[in-house]
Amino acid sequence: MNKIVELQNVTFTYQQRTRPSVAGIDLAIAPGDFVLLTGATGCGKSTLLKMLNGLIPHESGGTLTGRILIGGQDSRQRSIAELSQQVGMVFQSPDDQLFSTTVYDETAFILENTGMAPAAIASRVNETLRLVGLPDKQDASIHALSGGQKQRLAVASVLAARPKVLALDEPISQLDPRGAAELLAVLEELNRQQGLTIILVEHRLHEVMPLCRRVLLMQEGRLVWQGTREEAYEQAPLFEHYGLRMPQPVDICRLLGVKTASAQVEDAVAAVAKAYPVPWQTSQPRLDSLDDPALLSEPAIEIEQLSFRYERKGQQVLDAVDLVIPQGQFVALMGNNGAGKSTLLQQIGGLLKPGQGRIRVIGQPLTGLSRAVGMVLQNPDLMLFNHTVTQEISFALRQQAAGFTWSPQCQQLVDDLGLTTMLDDFPLALSRGQRLRVALAAVLASRPPVLLLDEPTTGQDIGHIKDIVHLLQQYTRQGGTVLFCTHDAEVAARYAGRIIVLCQGRVVADGRPEAVFTQEQVLHAAGLKAPAALKMARQLYGGTALTVEEVVDYVQQKCLGGSAG
């Protein structure tokens, strides 16, 4: 096999660590391949990626053994500058990696570093920006780009050198669905039309797996499985074991014992329909609206005609929003970036004053910060400012009562969130998933009646998401109210009792998940997609099932006479 990347028994240990982050890796990647490198958070996949363009070992320190061959040449013998001509590297956060002020300058940077003539640079930049779909943005400020455009610019900024390999480290983790779709479409195009080898690190398998041809699975620094995408579909339990989410159509087919080589809804529906004579659903479930909130329980949050703009003559961020959220409800707030989700949370949290309209929390008019509202910010790092996890979790309670140290309730929280063994650790030194759980525990410790969470699922693998949701469900069962922003339709559909969709500051849909996710036009306008399970249910039997289990149950009950399970 012709190999563009080859790793021979590679082991790497960071300085001041005793255990290797990557151990005994043997790997060969052919030119033009599209490889997905996956595994749970902290498994060593980003470390492996950094070896490809020489950041490891040239810039990292640490001990590297084995050989890394890029285009047949040992990476140790070549500088990062030389390797950058072969391997382009794109990082997770678009904001952190961009360096210039304009799109043109950012794209030209790598070419200037090679000493290319200005005229040649101009033509190469034009060509590259066309490849990533930003031909008309040359003179635009990088600050004027959306998240998806910034990440495409990050791709252009390395693609300009015409590398043979493009290595991307969780490039869609901080993008909304529209931005992620734009970037993935560009990658697919580059691989298909330009023959560019793509190595993508990602744990959101359900989004990227349909694009790749080969899958590598890592665990604790080791490559535990590798094979084609189709083979990976057959190994779904293995991936699930490592906390990774397969595309829902693949899971449905697997649980029904149907073989499929595709994650496309249409292919999966055809495969299931061939194996099972699934009858059309005769009784349509209720899709109209929620029960009258007033009948459910006392309102936790009441919003009347709330409008807001950040600057007097600026854009209307929230536009006449009316909402009533009863106590005990678990509500997902969805919409693309810029739809007004975070602003709405900040309004309820008392961090912003309404331009117009009123907010009441637990019956009281909101005039500023309220102890009735707890809030977990989008970036949990900025909420952690104590020396130990114990101090962090008990912080709010210490503010309320001098001399408070620890309570059985705090202990219960840390047990539920799997933080028991790290009580004396420095919170900021924990992994991202652990940091989020500490931030959540720190807010929940003071038992606020209303809990707001700004994109708590971003960057989390499904195992962590389940832990968090389990805790939040317990909290709502005890009367707490949860309102969380998310881009993850599968999580919202599975766990939320109600979904509110914002688009350009207005509530465009509000209801049960099955009612909201069946409004295709609204979803399209808001840049959202329905979960694949729902699409399958619709196409297969005209149903409104939201989860894999519901679809499988229906098919098994109708076709196998209730032997589901």
Partner: protein
């Protein structure tokens, strides 16, 4: 203030934006020398106004004017108040008495607290010096591409590590401001009131608690940026400057500015010789008068 775009350089088509970064840096250096060289409040005031005119030409947004004004006012207030109260040179003229020496204990201990006119004037001069530099510095960071700034520093033989650190600082300054606001918000959300007590121990504790998360985030960001830049062939080992030709007109302008600066330095020396009674040139009497007013 917490709006990231207020702090970050944005491209523009104004004359200031179009200037070569080297020209802007040369102007900054000249400004730095001038503020040391000049003692005359009116000339320093003119220099400060010139920097404001440049902001006007660069069409600074209202948000940026507000930031500039805030910093300048804070600088002027701090400098004038401290100098007015603690001015130690003679002669000095008392314009107000804040605490009479006759007040039991504190008055006796301090010998009275006064506001001195000369202190106010000296403070104003110092404030104009720092305000001019602040204004020029902000002008350059708001209108120059960080990539070009880095290249200019390297072209002028600044060590790579120092240059990269400086640029990374500039690049992340806006984010740091924004994130400080988020941390303070997070603290308030959890019932913490940073300024509830002004006891030094508590203030230090608050400062650490606010800085921890920001430093951690900034460090992670800086590592990513460094990796990103290195991954694009720019680093300690290899850094092609790729700056292009310094436009001739601007180059001549800078040389002229440098010559003017040198001339001013010579004039300052001549004036100092006369002022200290070392050497007096009678034919330069009018010049000495001019120097007294303008320098």
């Amino acid at each position: 203030m917490y709006n990231k775009n207020v702090w970050e350089a944005v491209p523009g088509d104004t004359w200031v934006h179009q200037l070569d970064v080297r020209t802007k840096l040369a102007a900054l250096v000249c400004c730095a020398v001038l503020v040391v060289l000049l003692d005359s409040p009116r000339t320093l005031y003119l220099l400060f106004c010139t920097t404001l005119v440049l902001h006007g030409i660069a069409r600074a947004s209202w948000a940026r004017w507000r930031v500039l004004l805030l910093f300048v006012m804070l600088g002027i207030w701090g400098s004038m108040i401290s100098q007015a109260l603690f001015y130690g040179q003679e002669p000095r003229t008392v314009v107000a008495c804040l605490l009479s020496p006759a007040v039991p204990l504190i008055g006796t201990l301090t010998g009275g607290v006064y506001i001195y006119r000369e202190g106010l004037e000296y403070g104003a001069v110092q404030a104009l010096r720092s305000a001019s530099m602040l204004s020029m510095g902000l002008l350059i960071s708001w209108t120059s591409d960080p990539r070009q700034l880095l290249r200019s520093f390297l072209a002028w033989k600044m060590p790579y590590e120092l240059a990269f650190m400086l640029i990374t600082g500039l690049r992340f300054l806006p984010v740091i401001f924004q994130e400080t606001a988020v941390v303070l918000t997070a603290q308030r959300l959890r019932g913490f009131e940073p300024l509830r007590s002004l006891a030094p121990r508590r203030l230090i504790q608050t400062a650490f608690q606010t800085l921890f998360p920001i430093l951690a985030r900034t460090l992670r960001r800086a590592v990513t940026l460094a990796f990103s830049v290195e991954s694009r062939g720019f680093g300690r080992a290899v850094h092609r400057l790729g700056l292009g030709r310094w436009p001739q007109g601007q180059w001549f302008g800078c040389v002229l500015l440098l010559l003017v600066l040198l001339s001013l330095m010579v004039l300052k020396v001549i004036d100092a010789l006369q002022f200290n009674g070392i050497r007096y040139f009678p034919e330069l009497r009018r010049f000495y008068d001019l120097m007294k007013v303008w320098m």
